[in-house]
C-alpha cells in the first residue's frame, strides 16, 4: 500500500513536471536557460507577452521544480534544475524500455515459432 501511494505521488509530481513543459512558451524558456541563468527581463525579451502573463509561466516552471529563482536587489534570476529534468527523462526512458523489452520478447517468440515451422516442413515426408 505504501509503495502504491509512493508510486501515485511520484506520478503526480512527474505529471506536474510534464504539465510545466507542456506549453510552447515554457519549452522555449527551458531551452533558453540551458545556456545558463538569466534574469526575468532577459528571458521575457523575445516574447511578445505582458510581463504578468510571462511571470505566470515562470511560476508554473518553478512550482514543478523545473527551474528555481532568487532575487538580488531588484533583479530576479532564474536557472534550470537539472535534477528535475533527469527525473522526467528517466521516467520516459523506463516506459519506453518496458515497451521495447516486451516487443523484443514478442519478436523472439515469433521467430521461434517460424523456426519450428521450418524444421517441421523439412521433416515432412509428404512435402515435395
Amino acid at each position: 500500500m505504501a509503495i502504491l501511494s509512493r508510486m501515485a505521488n511520484q506520478s503526480i509530481e512527474l505529471s506536474d513536471v510534464f504539465y510545466a513543459l507542456g506549453d510552447p512558451t515554457r519549452c522555449s524558456i527551458v531551452g533558453a536557460l540551458g545556456g545558463g541563468p538569466a534574469s526575468v527581463s532577459e528571458l521575457a525579451a523575445p516574447f511578445d507577452m505582458a510581463l504578468p502573463s510571462f511571470m505566470k509561466h515562470l511560476a508554473v516552471l518553478e512550482r514543478s521544480g523545473v527551474i528555481r529563482s532568487h532575487k538580488a536587489g531588484r533583479v530576479r534570476t532564474c536557472e534550470l534544475q537539472p535534477k528535475t529534468l533527469s527525473k522526467a527523462e528517466r521516467w520516459i526512458a523506463e516506459q519506453r524500455a518496458t515497451w521495447e523489452a516486451r516487443t523484443d520478447r514478442m519478436v523472439d517468440f515469433v521467430e521461434k515459432l517460424h523456426q519450428e515451422e521450418l524444421s517441421r516442413d523439412q521433416c515432412d515426408p509428404d512435402k515435395p
Copy 2:
C-alpha cells in the same frame, strides 16, 4: 528563417507531447501501456471515472502521438508509440546536456583561476 520556423514547430509538437503527459491519469495510462497494447475497457478499469471523460484523456494522448489506437469489431485497442516518447526524452536530455556542459566549463574556469592565484601566492616575495 526556415530553420527557426522548424524549431518553433518542433517546440510546439513537443509541448503537445509534454501536455499529454502532464496529467496523473494520462501518466498512469502510459505506464499501463508499457506492458503492451490494451483495450479501452481494460485501461479504464482501474479508474473511478466516467467513460466519456476517460476517452477524452485517450484522445489527448492520441492527438499528441504518444499512443495510437485501432478498432477491431467493437473493441478499440491502444498502444504506445515509442518514437514519440524517444523524441521527448531526447529533448530533455539535450537541455540537460547543454546546462551541464556550461556548468563543467564554469568549474574548469574557477579551478584555473584558483590555480593561477595559488602559483601567484607561491611566487610572491612579500608572502610569509
